[in-house]
């Protein structure tokens, strides 16, 4: 779950990292009065996720109330980085002598938290790393004790800082590392950390993301920021169809419907979990099929869960055929999936032999599954037929040879 810039800055301020004075507003008039209050030059910044806000016209400089109102009017209501802007942050403009960027995140190769820093801030750290790798400094951290400030100090030293600047940077970096750890963030990044002429360090911009897996134990901060449960913060807002899939999944703990994603196509997919579902989706698309959905069924689902997912997929207006394809299953049972899928189809008054284009779920209890499928005249295949061959047969049946 991504945090908006204003939320990330609230977290920074709470932990003693200086941020510009600013106000979150939802209209041009409010933006004007916020600029009036702040005085001087301001920035008007769209509150959307994405790293190219500035280039996309989501950040404007303004001088005075009228100008700020105009800037806000030009931003609010437009689409920036794929999202409609409904709020802007109006902030005092801070002049930087040097711009740093600091990211507290994880290094999957080292399997440790890592601090990444540069004195070429204001740009994406990955880009800096591509262009001038010598200006990117790193320090790994241990999780077997508290965050140790000397690691931050070493990093500050590597960035060429000394005197009070070094000590201030040590503090900011240490706090960032603590924030990342305390709130189960995938990364806590201040991508523009200004060193001002009077020696202050101020976070001009920030990116933070709460790991989905950590959300259950971060209720405190989520509530403090006023984020509701319905606010899933996905790449886009969930559709009604996707919400129904989540409900089906939550109402029955047996098995798991992986992320259910709504697509615009006409080929219904009831596909096996994890890697098998991704592989199947790839195969269907490569063969020219147009999937109506992604939804991975796994973790040994109950008959009822398979039944409900089948009905949900077939409820999509363009869908009248589904394919049931999975990798060789271990704990998921082919026979239980067969029972559920057939039940779902029959409950809709449809003919399983017509509706189920192919059933390819080899593995656990496949012999029983084969008997069930035979009884209902459903085209099924065993493991000697590959996932892509099964997908080819399904696509051929949906769209004609």
């Amino acid at each position: 779950m991504h945090f908006y810039e204003f939320e990330a800055k609230r977290i920074l301020a709470k932990h003693g990292v200086a941020v510009p004075k600013g106000k979150l507003v939802g209209s041009a008039a409010e933006a004007a009065s916020a600029a009036q209050e702040l005085g001087g030059d301001v920035y008007v910044k769209a509150q959307v996720f994405g790293r190219n806000r500035g280039k996309a016209g989501g950040i404007k400089e303004a001088s005075g109330a009228a100008d700020a109102g105009k800037a806000a009017a030009a931003i609010i209501g437009t689409e920036i980085c794929g999202a409609k802007v409904d709020r802007v942050l109006v902030e005092e403009k801070i002049a930087a002598e040097t711009l740093f960027a600091i990211n507290a995140t994880y290094d999957a190769a080292a399997k440790r938290p890592v601090l990444v820093a540069t004195d070429a801030g204001g740009k994406d750290l990955d880009d800096v790393n591509d262009e001038t790798p010598e200006r990117v400094k790193r320090r790994h951290l241990s999780l077997l004790g508290p965050v140790l400030p000397y690691r931050s100090k070493e990093l500050a030293h590597d960035l060429g800082l000394s005197g009070s600047g070094l000590n201030r940077m040590t503090g900011v970096v240490t706090r960032l590392a603590e924030i990342c750890r305390q709130y189960d963030l995938t990364h806590a990044e201040v991508n523009a950390l200004a060193l001002t002429s009077d020696g202050r360090l101020v976070a001009l911009d920030a990116h933070m993301e709460l790991e989905a897996e950590g959300r259950y134990r971060q209720k405190g901060i989520v509530e403090e920021l006023g984020i509701t449960d319905a606010d899933t913060r996905g790449a886009r807002a969930p559709t009604e169809w996707e919400l129904e899939a989540i409900r089906i999944d939550e109402e029955d703990p047996r098995g798991l419907i992986g992320p259910a994603v709504d697509f615009d196509g006409d080929m219904g997919l009831v596909i096996g979990a994890g890697g098998g579902s991704i592989t199947t989706f790839d195969a269907v698309k490569r063969l020219g099929g147009n999937p109506a959905n992604y939804a991975a069924l796994g973790g040994n689902p109950s008959v009822d869960k398979a039944r409900r997912l089948t009905k949900l997929v077939l409820s999509k207006p363009k869908v009248n055929k589904i394919c049931v394809i999975s990798n060789v299953v271990s704990n998921t049972r082919a026979d239980l999936v067969a029972r559920g899928v057939i039940k779902g189809v029959l409950e809709l008054g449809l003919d399983p032999a017509e509706t189920i284009t192919i059933f390819r779920v080899p593995g656990a209890w496949e012999a029983d599954a084969a008997k069930i499928l035979k009884k209902y005249n459903i085209d099924y295949c065993d493991r000697t037929v590959s996932i892509s061959e099964a997908a080819r047969r399904a696509v051929a049946k949906v769209y004609g040879e």
């Binding site: 399997k111 996905g234 592989t279 991975a296 060789v328 704990n331 593995g363 996932i387």
Partner: protein, 299 residues
């Protein structure tokens, strides 16, 4: 020979009385694995298919040799269970539990490193040496395991548990057996990556080729490519990368927690390019893997 396991390998199951654990415990026993105990706090004194259940790991390690532990406890207890096993001296830990944060995963792995223990997973199904030992829940019922896994000289590593079995089954169908197959886990931070495990395969005289299953997200493939370049590996590697459809869907996650395209290196296209540059052969489809392996083995 194989990696990590042998005929004498004996292990425990933490969380043995759970719905899925009861299942795979029976399946492992049927396959001939040696399970010397199970742990579920508060259920000490019972047994699961003849495997004695204890309240603590230490009760078991004090009375018998424990080479490994499979952890399949509820999410909230997973980190604690892993540390308990490491503290009791267990050196190989398979974590099946799904949904562990990267903070907890990194902490477990760091703790394991300090104690000379290895972690496979989290969010994996475990390790299989065909006809020798099944350590975890790979493959399902013993009768199905025998259909999918056969002894041979191909090492398999997969970020997806299901695709581990799928790929081994495809190899088996085409007359290619496996030296060791590992489901390494679908999370962003896992204990043993491809590059971590390659030296073990490299040192195993029975392994003559390696097949990997890979997904969008993370830098594990780039790391593997670098390892291959740095170490002048004797082993041909054949890779299959799923999720090519995700190249143009930034920020969305499918299948596993680790599969998300945020940065360039996360994308299947970039992974295929990077591995190809290191001489790793990339299969377009799972069905193409056996021929590529056979070709590579011919040299």
């Amino acid at each position: 020979m194989a990696i990590l396991l042998n005929e004498d390998f004996q292990f425990i199951v933490q969380g043995i009385t759970g719905r899925e654990a009861v299942n795979f415990t029976r399946e492992c026993l049927e396959y001939g694995s040696k399970i010397v105990g199970g742990v579920t706090p508060g259920k000490g004194g019972r047994d699961v298919y003849g495997v004695p259940v204890f309240d603590t790991v230490r009760e078991i390690t004090e009375s018998r040799r424990v080479d490994g532990s499979v952890i399949t406890v509820p999410l909230a207890f997973a980190a604690d269970a892993a540390i308990e096993a490491i503290d009791a001296g267990v050196k190989l830990i398979v974590i099946i539990t799904e949904g562990i944060t990267r903070l907890d995963a990194a902490m477990i792995v760091e703790y394991a490193d300090y104690h000379g223990a290895r972690v496979i997973g989290p969010n994996c199904l475990g390790v299989m040496v065909p006809n020798v030992c099944r350590f975890g829940s790979l493959g399902g019922p013993a009768v199905d395991v025998r259909k999918a896994f056969t002894p041979g000289n191909v090492g398999v590593m997969s970020r997806s548990g299901g695709m581990t079995t799928e790929i081994c089954s495809t190899l088996t169908t085409n007359g290619l057996g496996q030296s060791t197959a590992l489901s390494i886990g679908g999370d962003p931070v896992i204990g043993s990556t491809y590059a971590d495990l390659m030296p073990l395969f490299e040192a195993d005289p029975d392994t003559e080729a390696v097949v990997i299953y890979s997904e969008p997200g993370g830098s594990a493939e780039a790391e593997l490519a670098k390892w291959v370049e740095d170490n002048n590996s004797r082993l041909p590697i054949i890779a299959f990368v799923s999720g090519r459809f995700m190249d143009d869907m930034p920020g969305m996650s499918f299948g596993h927690a680790g599969t998300v395209v945020n940065r360039k290196e996360d994308s299947p296209a970039e992974k295929i390019r990077r591995m190809g540059a290191a001489g790793i052969r990339v299969a377009d489809q799972v069905g193409d893997i056996p021929d590529l392996v056979k070709e590579a083995l011919k040299g």
